[in-house]
Symmetry: none
Subunit: 284 residues, 2 copies
Amino acid sequence: MVQTARLSERILESFDDLTKSERLLAEHFLENPDSLALHTAEEISSLAGVSKATTARFFKRLGFPSFKTAQRMARVRRSDSQHNKRVFSEPIQQRSGRGDLADHLASDVQNLIRTIEAIRGDELKDAVTYLARAEKVWVVGFGDNYPLAHFARAQLIKVKPDIRMIPLGGFPVPEEFASIRPTDAVLALAIGRRTATLRSILQSARLSGARTISVTDLTSSGNSELAEVTLRCRTSGLSYFDSLASPVSVMTYLCMAVADRLGQNAVDRLKYIDGIHSEWGDLG
Amino acid sequence: MVQTARLSERILESFDDLTKSERLLAEHFLENPDSLALHTAEEISSLAGVSKATTARFFKRLGFPSFKTAQRMARVRRSDSQHNKRVFSEPIQQRSGRGDLADHLASDVQNLIRTIEAIRGDELKDAVTYLARAEKVWVVGFGDNYPLAHFARAQLIKVKPDIRMIPLGGFPVPEEFASIRPTDAVLALAIGRRTATLRSILQSARLSGARTISVTDLTSSGNSELAEVTLRCRTSGLSYFDSLASPVSVMTYLCMAVADRLGQNAVDRLKYIDGIHSEWGDLG
DNA sequence: GTCAAACGATTCAAAAATGAAATTAATCTT
DNA sequence: AAGATTAATTTCATTTTTGAATCGTTTGAC
């Protein structure tokens, strides 16, 4: 566990201490995690829009002995993961685990704030547009993302009539997904462990001409953008679990914004649903 | 568009251009939106941990003529909102850029903070104890609470072996629930609309001698406690939907605290699960 | 009106950050 | 292996940021 700290981790640890140009570098690396292994210091500098000197200093500030060392480490790591093709998720680290609610919620407050800062306004607007215009929306979430997907669907269905879940019950994915059309949109929940199936789905979706949106965290290792629009949420938790408060918040916002965009239709639908709830009383 | 620009919006617009100490101020204001109206420049400076000079410059950089002007604007805005105190669930505004998201997340930040304040430490401790000691845990959530319940189970199952969902698939509730024992605990998600079934379940649970915990919002205040321990979360949203960020956060905390309480057992289980995930690669 | 107190704005010197250019290290050619 | 080439590091002058101290303005008490 000595030299295993990946770049993105180190960046996130000391994000607060970074200066403006260092943040440019930080964002560059978070968006293009392979950049360090693939490019020279000069190229990286110009990609991020800073001077070579700043790039060199950046890695020292992050605790690496030098740029070169960091690059070597990145290349080793890369060839490793080339080797055993599977992407291992981080071992669960035994962090402080002190367990004070105040600390926990404070950390989530930070997550929320940082999430606002990280999300680009134009991407968000695009996401809302895609979802609002889509004929069908496919909400995709495997493993730990399934509850999140469930949650997203529960909100979207109040606003739009045709929201499909992937995976669905015990049904095989391809059969379901076959009905995707260029007029659809896919909302992929991709926090934490990312599965190959998710990748395949996003790829198929893009091929089919549908719009793709992915909600993810900052650890997106290696893979370049999976979707047209990527909304990155902060999820760092104080202990064993990541915290999903900010993804939930972002998704609630998305639904709200979609409802807003759809205008009276959405309001009517909401009222109608509410009416049925009242009539039925229970059994919801 | 004359004087309508709120502070948080302006901060986010130019967040990328802010220096380190200015970011300290920015985060202070995002966390404490009322600070500008309530405190003097000096107090704010010391709260944020910067010098008065920096605070003064900060507001100029954001495009305000001066600190004073900004403060005056904030106070006017505040007294306005004091005036029309009612809370609409109508859409508040039609914009859809990032200012919207800023407002939304800021509102969730407030929800989180208020939630911390509202939850009593001893109740929380009891909740953790109940969940940790329980032989089986029943997670109950109907309607809109179902995704939340799903989510809670997904986390708890990583830490304890026997977590049951109610409702489950299409199976009738009583048949399932019959297996409840005095050594069990029930975690009821009761946010928003509460159903009669939920009430019945909690009542049966208490009769059976099992421990009962309910996670709920503030709309229930008044009517008698449904469960032994009630954790109230703030959920007010800016528009059509309630925001579930703080319940999610609280539940993540609960699971973390339970894991903590269980100690090595939980850690082993987590590692074991992680190992299986890695072996299987996908299909999670 | 005058004075005092409180507060915000400004100035200025010190510290930090930055990029251009020089220097050093490494890598490749022949 | 020596020279040529490329890339990383360091240096240094410039620019930016920052807080302590100072200056001005407003407010309120008498």
